[in-house]
């Protein structure tokens, strides 16, 4: 599993500058895409999302997945983790003290790198190939 250091916004080559960066960037081995099992999530800052980041992702989800990195990028929160990130909107609703559905969450989910999907009131972004390796499920009617 990656460490927080591996997944941070300025990890790896991104921590280098000037010629050091260029040398690494132009290395022959870095001229093809390399498979990654990480996922990236961008959350627009809002009253609800700031609360979800503090109370759910930092306090709870980070314990389940210690590779999760959350960084403040001005207008948005930038998150990166190995494998997957999940947000349970039932729990979000409890801590926010108001009805808060998966579609309320999607108002402020700005971008994803990985396969993001909803199932019931849970939002997931995963490195799994949904629809290819893993079937996308419907809720029971």
């Amino acid at each position: 599993m990656s460490t927080v250091k591996d997944n941070s916004y300025d990890a790896g080559i991104m921590s280098l500058n000037g010629k050091d960066f260029a040398d690494e960037y132009f290395k022959e081995e870095n001229q093809v895409c390399k498979e990654s099992n990480t996922v990236v999530l961008v959350l627009k800052k809002s009253d609800e999302m700031d609360f979800i980041v503090d109370e759910m992702l930092v306090k709870i989800f980070q314990k389940k997945n210690p590779s999760l990195v959350i960084q403040d990028r001005g207008g948005y929160w930038w998150l990166k983790a190995d494998n997957s990130i999940e947000i349970d909107c039932e729990y979000a609703s409890d801590i926010l003290g108001k009805p808060y559905s998966i579609y309320d969450l999607l108002v402020d989910v700005t971008s994803t790198v990985g396969r993001a999907y909803t199932f019931g009131n849970t939002f997931t972004i995963t490195s799994e190939l949904m629809g290819l390796d893993v079937k996308l499920q419907d809720v029971a009617a």
């Binding site: 895409c33 700005t110 999907y117």
Partner: protein, 525 residues
């Protein structure tokens, strides 16, 4: 007003058979999929060489009711912020002058992309046969209408509040004047809506949206904030909240064709062509706008590109699909070279033809030059010295009569326009992945800057017949062309484009340009 028979009938039917109100949205979504199409007779106006599967799923399970509610909340928040807090804070006028000019291009050109994406996603709706896949494309079609309005609103907002509104006010009529326009049409229009439907999806969703909207619409908000612009993050982060569904649509396009033998045969070529098409324009243009169009820098563009394009898109999207035969784009190495140098090459040319812009440009300051040299070693010797020479010759001052385009002529640095991407390049000065190659076809010469575009042209030359600006204006004097294409402010004589952003600096007029006597010449004639 009389109530129609149809309305009466619908009202009566609903009274007898009330729609359920206590069922969850995703249960309704599942139920809706039973309203299916007859696949055997499914015909599309927009065919594809791939077979799209009939059971492809939609990752976000949207129904119209929740979609409409979600989008209305987004708009309420965005317009609420703009019209209340941001207006009271005079946010539109607190923007660093250079960045305000940059937003003239960003918001207006993105509007064109969004507008064409309406057609592209509608086309994909028609091409697909799986009901969930159609639902995803349909949602996107409506999103793109919203985005077109949002981008137009950014120009409108800045036109009201930015200290120099010229360009924001009339971008739609003057944007065709300069050489950046046609390249933008290639990526944002032709790439999205011409040719095979799945190829369009790869261009729009898998590359344009999954790869380049992250720097274009997400990272741009950091640059905006750093330069005092809180208007752009308010709008663009709201736009991007829809883009994740579009990225999922692109991925599901690939899922839908993954088991078709045609995918093994064509997908990697289509992916490479789409990647090169999109990167050829976005890589230099975004890098130029961010780094040369800002006072306060966030990080070198090449790092932004490396993070969002190479590591994340390349690793998390393309890398993970490797076991299904999807390969790293063959053009990646050249794209990486472009990400380091091509925006510097482009700014040199963009500044040289500044009178054709609907925005103002500024030469790099001493502070900028130090930053460029620290982050792109070798920048000063190649580019910095040229800017110093131009500044010494008075290129910012109308009384000098010096337009940097003249310097290219004096020094035999010929400028060409790549036929496929429509991106200008100067073979004798480029440090990006460009080198000149010329072909003749049907009695007409065509210049190319790279083997990837050249390959696309060789396989479909009739697709890339767009006349470039040098052919279009050949033999005409620059001030005539500017006047004809509305490149002037409301006084009818002062140019919208200017070679500086200082409030104290003198503004160039049509007469100043006329004195320079620049005549367009087609280098291939």
């Amino acid at each position: 007003m009389a109530i129609s028979l149809a309305t009466n009938a619908a009202t009566d039917a609903l009274a007898l058979n009330r729609a359920p109100t206590s069922v969850g949205a995703q249960e309704v979504h599942k139920w809706m999929q039973d309203f299916n199409w007859d696949f055997k007779n499914n015909r599309t106006k927009y065919p594809t060489k791939y077979l799209m599967a009939n059971d492809t799923k939609e990752q976000f399970k949207l129904i119209a009711k929740e979609y409409a509610r979600m989008e209305s909340v987004k708009d309420e928040r965005q317009f609420g912020s703009l019209q209340d807090a941001l207006t009271r804070m005079n946010a539109g006028n607190r923007v660093a002058p250079k960045w305000g000019e940059t937003m003239k291009v960003v918001s207006n050109f993105l509007e064109v992309g969004e507008y064409n994406a309406i057609a592209a996603s509608a086309m994909l709706w028609d091409s697909a046969s799986a009901p969930e896949q159609k639902n995803g494309y349909l949602g996107q079609c409506m999103d793109e209408i919203r985005h077109t309005h949002q981008c137009g609103y950014v120009n409108y907002y800045f036109a009201k509040y930015f200290h120099d509104p010229a360009g924001h006010t009339d971008a739609r009529r003057v944007r065709t004047l300069g050489p950046l326009w046609k390249g933008m049409k290639r990526v944002f229009a032709d790439g999205f809506i011409s040719g095979d439907a799945v190829e369009c999806s790869i261009n729009l969703q898998l590359v344009g949206e999954a790869c380049f909207t992250n720097p274009l619409i997400v990272a741009v908000t950091e640059w905006a904030s750093a330069n005092g612009d809180e208007v752009t993050p308010t709008v663009f982060l709201s736009i991007e909240t829809d883009e994740l569904r579009h990225m999922a649509n692109g991925y599901q396009t690939v899922v839908s064709i993954a088991h078709d033998p045609a995918a093994a045969k064509y997908l990697n070529t289509d992916l490479n062509n789409a990647f090169w098409t999109q990167q050829k324009y976005f890589t230099p243009v975004l890098g130029m706008l961010f780094e040369y169009g800002s006072k306060f820098k966030v990080e070198p563009w090449v790092k932004t590109w490396n993070r969002w394009v190479y590591e994340d898109w390349g690793g998390i999207w393309i890398g993970r699909l490797g076991k299904y035969g999807v390969q790293s784009p063959a053009s990646l190495k050249d794209a990486k070279k472009d990400a380091y140098w091509a925006h510097h090459d482009l700014f040199l040319l963009a500044y040289a033809v500044w009178p054709t812009g609907f925005f103002r440009l500024a030469l790099p300051s001493k502070e900028d030059a130090d930053w460029f040299e620290a982050n792109y070693p070798g920048w000063y010797d190649h580019y910095g010295k040229i800017y110093e020479e131009w500044r010494a010759r008075g290129c910012e001052d109308p009384s000098s009569g010096f337009i940097p385009l003249q310097w290219f002529v004096e020094n035999n640095h010929e400028i060409y326009i790549d036929r496929v991407s429509q991106v200008p390049f100067c073979p004798s000065l480029t440090k990006g992945a460009s080198s000149l190659r010329i072909h003749e076809y049907n009695g007409k010469k065509h210049a190319f800057s790279d083997e990837w575009g050249e390959r696309m042209w060789l396989s479909e030359p009739e697709r890339y017949e767009c006349q470039n600006v040098f052919e279009q204006y050949a033999g005409r004097e620059l001030s005539e062309v500017i006047a004809e294409l509305w490149g002037v402010r409301s006084d009818g004589v002062t140019l919208i484009g200017q070679p500086h952003v200082t409030k104290e600096g003198k503004l160039w007029t049509l007469d100043d340009i006329k004195r320079a006597n620049c005549v367009f010449k087609d280098p291939l004639a």
